[in-house]
Amino acid sequence: MDRYAFMSACRDGGVAIERALRLLDRSYFPILFREGLRGLRDSESARDLVQETFIKVWLRCATFQGDSELLPWIKSILRHGLLDRLRKSQREAVLDEPDRLAAEVERRIGELSEEKVPRPDDEARRAQLDDCFKRCWERFESAAPSHALVMSWIVEDGLSHEEIAELLDRTPAATREFISQCRKRARVHLAEWYELAFGAG
């Protein structure tokens, strides 16, 4: 859906909103559903989240400035809702003894230099690392979904500190703490991968 058509429908209201809602669904449902499913791991909840997002999009349509593309704006509304749901479901596990695990990995990573960064040069080794990463990441997503999701969004969309703060609805200091927690939790849940990736060097 074109952002100008969206803004025009927002101005017109009434029947134009109905047409625009259908267009939004046809244009963005699959991509938003995937995003929701990744975080919620339940197709009905993901579907509900996407529809809730479309409603929010219209309730807030007047705040869309039109100086950016429509999809990133809609995605940010969905992500906000997704983090809210995860927060409410209290799926985040308390991080147990992060320092001990982090310290060991920290020591190994600290020893790295450009020359010593592990770069698997054969396919078998690369496949082994990929397989291990996939397994560990799934554990991470399950144990700390908000942190894992935010990390994947950082990679996919290059989120800045400010954008993360806006997404989390937190102060800059609280956001710094959240990012630090992401890093610590990743080290805990990806310990096996860290071991394999960095330990072999």
Binding site: V15, D25, L112, S180, W193
Partner: protein, 199 residues
């Protein structure tokens, strides 16, 4: 892990350049980033049944939700139930019209007690409770059907004379049938209206 370290980690994870790419935090983030991207690339295309780009049921659900939220209530409700409302209105109108016609016929039959008495020398005799009223009705209906009809009153007798068009039009035929009048063979209609008990 210092704040500065975390900032470097975040920047590299997000794909931004950092002043010191050899810093351990940068190398760690770089490997994480590469692995995450690779994992996404290796993921098979999802074949979820809900991933259809267009789904009428899904759209209806969304619109129903929008209605509940008050986003599109009146406009949509009007249109969606339009055919139902329209059908109801039409049915009600038809019922009223039917009752009105029935009542009219009943009242007409009851009040006028119009009755065909026979034809003599080309003159049709009709008996009615109110001959003048029936004469005026007949005149009006024939004229409305395009016939130049003439009404008269002679010796207390109401009558209508009219030269009918040939062939007789369906409208004229309908008027004749409505008043139980035979179609005149010569095309000239002559009607005398008597009141009950006048013979």
């Amino acid at each position: 892990m210092s704040d500065d370290d975390d900032k470097t980690w975040l920047d590299v994870l997000a794909g931004r350049t950092t002043p010191d790419p050899n810093r351990p935090a940068a190398r760690e983030a770089q490997l994480l980033r590469e692995s995450l991207i690779r994992q996404r690339q290796l993921q098979p295309a999802e074949q979820h049944p809900q991933l259809a780009a267009q789904d009428a049921r899904r759209e209806e659900e969304l619109l129903a939700r929008a209605e509940r939220e008050g986003l599109i209530d009146s406009a949509r409700l009007r249109r969606r139930s339009g055919w139902v409302t329209g059908a109801r209105v039409l049915a009600a109108a038809a019922a009223i019209a039917f009752m009105a016609i029935g009542l009219t016929l009943f009242l007409r039959t009851g009040s006028e007690q119009e009755m065909y008495r026979g034809t003599h020398d080309g003159v049709v005799t009709v008996e009615a409770a109110n001959p003048a009223t029936l004469k005026n009705e007949l005149l009006a209906e024939l004229r409305a059907a395009g016939v130049a009809a003439t009404g008269y009153e002679r010796f207390g007798l109401q009558g209508v004379d009219a030269e009918l068009p040939r062939p007789i039009s369906p409208q004229v035929r309908a008027v004749l049938q409505r008043h139980h009048l035979p179609v005149p063979a010569d095309g000239v209609l002559r009607v005398e209206i008597t009141s009950p008990g006048s013979h």
